[in-house]
Symmetry: C2
Amino acid sequence: MQQRATAGTEGLRRTNTGAVLRALRRLGPSTRAELAKHTGLAKATVGVIVADLEAAGAVAEEGSRPGVRGRPGRPVALRGERFVALGLELNVDYVSAVVLDLAGRVVSSSSRSGGTSDDLRELARTALAEHVGVGSTLVGATLAVPGLVRGDNRTVAWAPNLHVAWPEVADALGSLVPGQRIEVSNDANCAAYAESHHGASLGAAHALYLTGTVGIGAGIVQDGEVMRGAAGFAGEVGHMPVGDSTALCGCGRRGCWEASIGLHAMLAAVGMPELDTPLRTAEAVAARAATDARVRAGLERIGRDVGLGIAMLSSVLDPQVVVLGGYFTPLGDLVLEPARRTLDERLASAAQVRPDLRTSTLGIQAAALGAAEQSFGPVFTGQRDLTA
Amino acid sequence: MQQRATAGTEGLRRTNTGAVLRALRRLGPSTRAELAKHTGLAKATVGVIVADLEAAGAVAEEGSRPGVRGRPGRPVALRGERFVALGLELNVDYVSAVVLDLAGRVVSSSSRSGGTSDDLRELARTALAEHVGVGSTLVGATLAVPGLVRGDNRTVAWAPNLHVAWPEVADALGSLVPGQRIEVSNDANCAAYAESHHGASLGAAHALYLTGTVGIGAGIVQDGEVMRGAAGFAGEVGHMPVGDSTALCGCGRRGCWEASIGLHAMLAAVGMPELDTPLRTAEAVAARAATDARVRAGLERIGRDVGLGIAMLSSVLDPQVVVLGGYFTPLGDLVLEPARRTLDERLASAAQVRPDLRTSTLGIQAAALGAAEQSFGPVFTGQRDLTA
DNA sequence: GACATTAGTTCGAGACTCGTACTTAATGGT
DNA sequence: ACCATTAAGTACGAGTCTCGAACTAATGTC
């Protein structure tokens, strides 16, 4: 009654099919010979697997690529039209939906302000109606939320910023995708996954994603997989004791990281008011920084505390890339430069390399995109069979 | 040219053989029927695999267990005599060697003071001579060192406390195990692995091990596997900025965690002198604490800073169990109790459960034992075939 | 136009797992 | 003492799968 990952020979086929699909995602359109090289499978095996995938509509042949000596290969490419996944995000002040296809293309991407279950339901319904036709099958649907999601990928243990009745949300959304199970996932984890597959940390097996709004959250990617922790709560870094130890946090304690670098702390440091969304607020701050030295100094202070926390996290996790999302994105180097300097001062040793600090390239869609990508996870790992 | 984990059908067999071996390690002696239940394999398959393993000498039948209705099963058990692994530790003031057998029994375990390559070589040689006979084969050998080990499991990037010429060590040891490749691993990682397989965090898939001597190091186990990080440097937590931000650290910076809770900080807090080894020093402190309230107060202060760092690490990693080794072990609840209280105050949310804080049960042998266990890793994951 | 070169398929061999049917070995009741 | 019951382990045939070698196909080069 334990792991059945690869018991019989058909499980083996699934595993190998997953390897072929992964290679196609990574390499783009490839000939069977190239796939055989990259997966280590025999040419004959790849031929059979590709034929199966073609029959299922998951891949299609493209025009041949001549020019080299010998018989030209006939590249096959992932076909997007047939298989798609839905990623949703329910956040405090906005909702978004992304439809992602098997080839990794974003078919549809939409957001709107408002943070109710109805807003999300509406958005999801139109996305599905407009972009998931009769010819395409929905592989899965995942909902990203800013809160603690249990290890079962279903229930939410704690989401203080979201005023939502949980079973109700699941039911309301469940009716949109009949016969499907909507998975729930943490928003920072989803965003981290998205940045690692499509964004700023593309190709880095070990990456850390930091999102900053009113609260601070992290998503940890280790060896290409999101790290969950024992109860699924890994990455809840907002209340680490970092930065100004006297700063009062919304949670009632003092010294939490987000009390030093959360949106409100940043606004206090630069002496500016909050606008309607964190992103727009940060854009205003960035604009003002160009002319106002006091704002730059405030961001410098924030950046140092950001760097302090990243130093901490880097000591523990040793990431290759750290991606900063949320309100940090518009501020860019205004915050990242002081963070880099602090990080250099605090590196554990000369041998350790400073991780690369970058801003998010996916912006507000990161979490929903990552959620969709997570729904494709079982396909690429060979746990789910598209050809059945 | 990529992952060949499970390509052909013989790879499948290896995977399944690994599953059977794992089940035997976990459950102890089991009948074929029980193994079939627990691995999910068919009875017939288990029969074949067990027969192969028996032919290779990896398992043997035990006396039957009567008493129940029906034909009694004939339990098979892992046989220790045939396959063993060597674990070594080279530390600042001592070296140790452990010979572990396939069944998980510690065949031999020895330590001595001294931290030179020659000391270790001597210890390893006698351990091998006395406990690895002609009938037994050495599955692998791993060396644990207090330093930053690169991802290649061979080279050491930084080991400031060890005054050793690296290629020389590898050569000297390599001649002891002809035809073998000695892997190198971080000592805290090894100890964490050992505690998860044999010690205080047995059975916990997500555990954190903290070792305290002059420096502080951590080993992180996530999903049963040691977390390495991008360059293999994950878990270097000694220089996280935690605790007294004015405390001067040996690395030249201020505010490092180990400047607050390292051995020297602890001794300063209780006003006692250092003895010849950290362990003996801590035992003396523990003894004095029974009668001296000032010592208890000093340990209380240390415990709070320990708790602060663990709060940090728990927010990031969400471990189920935190094991404290090194000088913390003799002090036990004198440090753990204040740490637990601090941890309770700093938990990220009501939903998050406090990880269980325990002291190490393996003591000074933890790292060497974990190193040996790591050598068995490929056997139990099915990457290495014992029956060949 | 012959030849070298590379892509992809066909085919038979070999390895493996699985379910079913069967044998074996014990217990418990009559 | 005998037999029904129960469960463990094995034999066997069917079904999958991967693999290497041989073969066919398509293109560039000389």
